[in-house]
């Protein structure tokens, strides 16, 4: 196999252009924050509301984050830079969760039938699933409590 980056980087001075260096040695945290948190989100047939909910938990445990901590330390220049702040703050976990909850609530009120697959509607439906998911769980929990 040819060196995949050779073509693309042929114009770069070699010292400044490490070949695609991630490969097997790339830092797992760097990979996870990209493949879990970034990338295009489109609704799959297998509805992975996990990506919205459970994975946030994983991210919390593994990677988390704190913009707050950086702020505490005075590394907060981006907040005062209007050119940079609009796109940069959207990805805090709290905001993401708040947005998801709001959308779930809105969907619950609409109570539209969830159709199998139609573009953005399916995407919205996906976000509604955690809500429908919660009920059986809590019933399970009640059952356990009765048993105890």
């Amino acid at each position: 196999m040819t060196d995949p980056m050779a073509n693309r980087l042929s114009s770069y001075p070699s010292r400044a252009a490490p070949p695609y260096q991630q490969g097997s040695s790339a830092n797992l945290a760097d990979i996870l924050e990209r493949v879990l948190d970034k990338g295009i989100v489109i609704a799959g047939d297998i509805q992975i509301n996990l990506l919205d909910i459970e994975l946030l938990t994983i991210k919390l445990r593994l990677l988390v984050a704190s913009v707050d901590k950086a702020k505490e330390m005075g590394i907060d220049w981006w907040e005062h830079d209007p050119a940079l702040s609009s796109r940069s703050r959207k990805d805090t976990l709290a905001e993401e969760n708040r947005r998801l909850r709001a959308e779930i609530d809105a969907l619950r009120h609409e109570e539209q039938p969830v159709e199998a697959e139609s573009g953005s509607r399916a995407a919205r439906a996906r976000e509604a699933l955690p809500g429908t998911d919660r009920a059986p769980r809590s019933r399970r929990r009640e059952a356990q409590e009765r048993d105890e």
Binding site: P4, N27, E33, G44, D45
Partner: protein, 275 residues
Amino acid sequence: MNEQVTYVYAVVRAAGGAADAADAADAAAHLAGVGGGEVRTVPGTRGTALVLAVSSVPEDDFREDALRRHFEDLDWLESVARAHHGVIEALAARADVLPLRLATVYLDDDRARAVLDASWDSFAERMEHLAGHAEWGVKIYVERRPAPAGPAPAGDLSPGRAYLRTRRTERSVRESVYRAAEEAAARVEAAGRRHAAERARHRVQQGQLADAPGENVVNDAYLVHRDRAAAFHDEASRAAEGLPGVRVEVTGPWAPYSFVTPPTGAASPAEEHAT
């Protein structure tokens, strides 16, 4: 029970805006995907300019309940994440790609094709925007180190006063190192303004996976055109020069994971003029 389903890695466009994605198909031909399945391409019905890179995976592993379990298993998650990333990385070396989020799975190729068709225009538009660019990660760390061995704990100080003095020294060392980190961050930002098209912020890495020495205080990604990559890399890498206790780590080039979704909010004036 062992049905195969279609795992989608990325939308791919032949590099250089070639008429079809035959190159991308070639690039995919020998890749092993998640679970070892061979990567192949699925064209849309609207042409071959864009294709999906997919592979078959066992449904048993990717049903919702299975995924729920698997995602709690770091070893499984790591192997899938690395395989996913490996495919995207190899494709990105030869073509323009829009990476999909991990574990986007369809019942079969036709279902995946329908999604490509439905989002064709927005994929094409974003692809055009990202063409020729790569993502570079820049992390800034401050050293987690004890106060430098200053004057030896003076024998004439009470233990309490010696403790307080040590704490005071520690604190002032930490404050100065954070000021230095701020300076490094400003330099990286300046390099970004000179050379990058967009910036995305990632959360600083703190958890069990953040094994790099020091404390991560900035974790950003920049979208940089290949003509500017050398200059950006060079300037960003040197951002901590003369700043003791601060370290800058530049990673990349990455496929433009952090930039496949347009920045939220109003489009930038430059973008509006361009169209």
